[in-house]
């Protein structure tokens, strides 16, 4: 965990330096929302929150290193006319998304698509932790009432490799972005 945070921080720092050198606006943001398991008969929705940095690479392209902590609840298991509640768990994710679409400096309203990869630790009480690669695909909408503040909502499909199988979630979140730098 500490090593992952250090690597994530180092990558973000280096990319921020590159971004500053390129004189485009970059941002730091925080977000929260819902983590919705997709077609998982043993899990229910939970909350999520996270942080990210946006580094513009090209006028229509940006890189977004991110950290997400998401919870999920366990679904009750029905056995012989009885119901047993099951423990949920949580997922810690470090990764980066590539954003394609209208980036800051072009208008007050932005739409974008995103895709990315991440590294995940999947935890469930009473079971060993699992780690696995993840993949994301999604879309977002951002409104910039001022030059330095953005209000954002996004939906992101997140598939995680768990063992030899995969688990998929829909992450729906809202957040704030604070912009640095100049155009």
């Amino acid at each position: 965990m500490k090593k992952s945070i250090s690597v994530f921080g180092a990558i973000l720092f280096l990319l921020l330096i590159v971004s500053t050198a390129s004189a485009r606006k970059f941002s730091l943001g925080a977000f929260a929302g819902l983590n919705l398991p997709l077609v998982q008969q043993d899990a229910k929705s939970g909350a999520l929150f996270g942080a990210k940095g946006r580094i513009p690479l090209l006028p229509f392209l940006a890189l977004e290193p991110n950290f997400v902590f998401a919870k999920y609840a366990g679904k009750d298991v029905g056995v012989r006319e009885k119901t047993y509640p099951q423990e949920g768990g949580d997922i810690t994710s470090f990764g980066a998304d590539l954003l394609v679409g209208s980036m800051p400096g072009m208008s007050k309203v932005k739409f974008y698509g995103l895709t990315g990869i991440n590294f995940n630790t999947y935890k469930r009480k009473g079971f060993s932790n699992e780690t696995g690669l993840g993949w994301t695909l999604g879309t977002g909408f951002e409104f910039l009432p001022t030059e330095i503040l953005g209000l954002e909502i996004r939906a992101r499909y997140h598939a995680i490799k768990v063992g030899e199988g995969g688990k998929a979630y829909l992450e729906v979140s809202g957040g704030l972005n604070y912009y640095f730098g100049s155009e």
Partner: protein, 176 residues
């Protein structure tokens, strides 16, 4: 600018190909299957039977067995009656078939998947839904067929397992 666009396209294609080649977990689903065991397991230290669990006869398993990726959890639920005048400690074992006939064979050849079941004398204990040790028998469960044995650590012992259910949580690959 053209070279940069081409590089990004190639990089994205390479990453996506790597993800795909590592398995179709990109579009995985998780199913839960309940298998009710109709027969009793009656065990003493000299005579016992086992029950054969055949998941391949269940519709959810039949529909998905060619796309099975992983078994995540194997649960046991059941009731155990201890017919002795002394308390017993129950154990569940899993083996590939029902051919084991002695306690020594069960203990040496089968895999212990649930231990420490406290069974008061002359009483029925309801074992709530409990996860069994999956790692040693994962490959066996992936095939969908295995035998369940129930014994106790005490000698003599006389236990009966009834109203039992095995619950399997498994991953299936699919394309939306």
């Amino acid at each position: 600018m053209k070279m940069k666009k081409k590089s990004w396209t190639l990089l994205a294609a390479a990453i996506f190909a790597t993800l795909l080649l590592s398995g179709c977990w990109l579009f995985g689903i998780t199913l839960v299957l309940n298998y009710d065991i109709e027969n009793k397991i009656a065990s003493t230290d000299t005579h016992f039977n086992s029950v054969f669990v055949d998941l391949t006869q269940e519709q959810d398993w039949k529909d998905n067995q060619d796309k099975l990726d992983e078994i995540y959890i194997l649960y046991f639920y059941g009731k155990i009656y201890n017919d002795e005048n002394t308390p017993a400690t129950g154990q569940l074992y899993v083996y590939k078939d029902t051919t084991l006939h002695t306690i020594a064979e069960v203990e040496s050849l089968a895999t212990l998947v649930l231990d420490g079941l406290v069974l008061p004398a002359k009483d029925t204990t309801e074992v709530p839904i409990t996860a069994m040790k999956l790692e040693p028998i994962r490959d066996l469960v992936m095939k969908g067929k295995f035998a369940l044995y129930a014994i106790a650590t005490n000698v003599p012992f006389h236990i009966e397992v009834f109203d039992a259910t095995v619950v399997v949580v498994f991953a299936v690959e699919t394309i939306f």
